[in-house]
């Protein structure tokens, strides 16, 4: 049997991701479409929030993937530093712009939701603020990748940044809670305690939509990582041509 790490070898990685990718895309499109259509057209309005509650089917899944995207970068950074698997650095690089877009989607849908509910587009609430900071962390990570030409060095430095950034993202989150009590409600789907405050009517399409966003994220990261692998092969080839 092969070791798990062998699948991170670029050639094998290209092989198995090529096979898996169509299924991931199918799941991504299927789940997202099912969750959103179900949520938008086949659930009732919330008795207090009215039809604005439907924003939850985009807001929560994108926020979920924004946070987990950074966590993925953290894990990829650890793998790169410990095992120097070239693909893991590429996965970190591939995940950052997707995570940034998810963060922005979470912020924008939140603003659209906040306007009718709280009467304001933006408030300096701990959750909102931590998300804005998360977007800045993504920006810094992407900027550092872009600034360094040597890919090996860029992989090292961005990995260190992702690890330190992850610690500080958590610190900022709790410091922000210290700084201001917010408008944003607590989580409705606490995983640790299991005390869900969302009714099944809303929760099932939400869960499907979350799964859809998860597969969408995976698909986009895989596509981008495959592009990176190809781009590197191309640069190696053209370097050889030039020599």
């Amino acid at each position: 049997m092969r070791s798990l790490w062998e699948y991170a070898n670029p050639r094998l990685f290209m092989g198995w991701t090529g096979t898996v990718l169509p299924y991931v895309w199918a799941l991504a499109i299927g789940c997202t479409a099912l969750g959103l259509v179900w949520g938008f057209f086949f659930t009732g309005d919330d008795f207090r929030m009215g039809s604005t509650v439907k924003i939850i089917y985009i807001h929560v899944p994108s926020a979920l993937m924004a946070i987990n995207g950074y966590f993925l970068m953290f894990v990829a950074a650890l793998i790169w530093i410990i095992r120097r698997q070239p693909v893991s650095a590429l996965v970190g690089r591939a995940a950052a712009p997707v995570g940034l877009v998810m963060t922005l989607v979470g912020l924008i849908t939140g603003a659209i939701w906040g306007q009718p509910m709280w009467g304001t587009w933006w408030a300096w609430d701990p959750r909102l603020t931590s998300f804005l900071i998360l977007a800045l962390f993504y920006l810094g990570y992407i900027a550092l990748w872009e600034a360094i030409e040597d890919q090996e060095l860029a992989g090292d430095l961005t990995s260190v940044l992702a690890i330190v950034g992850c610690v500080f993202a958590v610190l900022s989150r709790y410091a922000a809670r210290f700084w201001n009590q917010g408008l944003h409600q607590g989580t409705s789907v606490p995983v640790a305690t299991g005390g869900r405050t969302v009714d099944d009517v809303f929760f099932i399409p939400l869960a499907i939509s979350m799964a859809g966003f998860f597969f969408l994220f995976v698909a986009l990261v895989l596509v981008r990582a495959r592009t990176e692998v190809r781009a590197r092969r191309l640069s190696v080839l053209s370097a050889r041509e030039g020599a």
């Binding site: 530093i81 900071i133 800045l136 962390f137 920006l139 810094g140 900027a143 550092l144 600034a147 360094i148 060095l153 090292d156 430095l157 260190v160 940044l161 690890i163 330190v164 950034g165 500080f168 610190l171 900022s172 410091a175 922000a176 210290f178 700084w179």
Partner: protein, 217 residues
């Protein structure tokens, strides 16, 4: 380590070293604030702790891009890395940065806060907050400088990387100063701020050294 600290301090103190630069910048921000928000004493007093912290943050940022870059450009950083472990090199640089910015601002910042009608009872908390919080500013900043040492014109990138990392320090530091100025108890945020600085001192050298080693390879 101590010869390096002495050398860097001497370099900072002599002309062109940028020793007073951070302090001058701090003073200018304080002086410009009333022009931006109006001369009303009550309003200025309300924002004085926050402005003092923002000015300290930006003053710390000002001299960061030359922290490692000057030694990197003339090649002495590689020689220093042969003589010292990268962690010690990092700590020495961060210490010199703190001595030339954070320590001075901690002493003079509260007095300059008086220009913004910072109340008397707010001066000691602001002093304590700057004293215990600015080591974290120097350490995080030195980490950012270590990351961008090999990047040409990395100054702007450095601010983009470092400023988000400053958020917890800023929140806690300004909270101490604000509570102090309002006459409230400030021991909890102060303890957390000190914890942040100590945590940075314990862990940042390893992150910074990893970045330095990668750049020097």
């Amino acid at each position: 380590m101590s010869p390096l600290i002495a050398r860097d301090l001497r370099l900072a103190l002599r002309s062109g070293g940028g020793f007073g630069l951070g302090l001058a910048f701090f003073i200018i921000v304080i002086v410009l604030t009333p022009f931006a928000v109006g001369p009303d004493p009550a309003r200025l007093a309300a924002i004085a702790p926050g402005i003092a912290w923002l000015a300290a943050l930006l003053a710390a940022l000002l001299t960061l891009d030359r922290l490692f870059a000057l030694d990197w450009e003339d090649g002495s950083l590689e020689l220093l890395a042969l003589a010292l472990p990268a962690e010690a090199l990092f700590m020495a640089k961060a210490l010199v940065h703190w001595l030339t910015t954070g320590a001075i601002l901690a002493v003079l910042g509260p007095l300059l806060g008086g220009l913004l009608y910072l109340p008397m009872e707010g001066m000691v908390p602001l002093f304590l907050a700057l004293l215990l919080g600015s080591p974290a500013l120097s350490l995080i900043g030195a980490f950012g400088a270590a990351l961008t040492v090999g990047v040409k014109r990395g100054g702007l990138l450095l601010s983009l990387l470092v400023l988000p990392l400053y958020v917890p320090v800023l929140i806690l530091g300004a909270e101490v100063a604000r509570r102090g100025a309002a006459g409230l108890a400030y021991d909890v945020p102060l303890a957390l701020l000190a914890a942040l600085s100590l945590g940075c001192a314990a862990l940042m050298p390893f992150a910074g050294a990893a970045a330095l080693r990668a750049s020097l390879r």
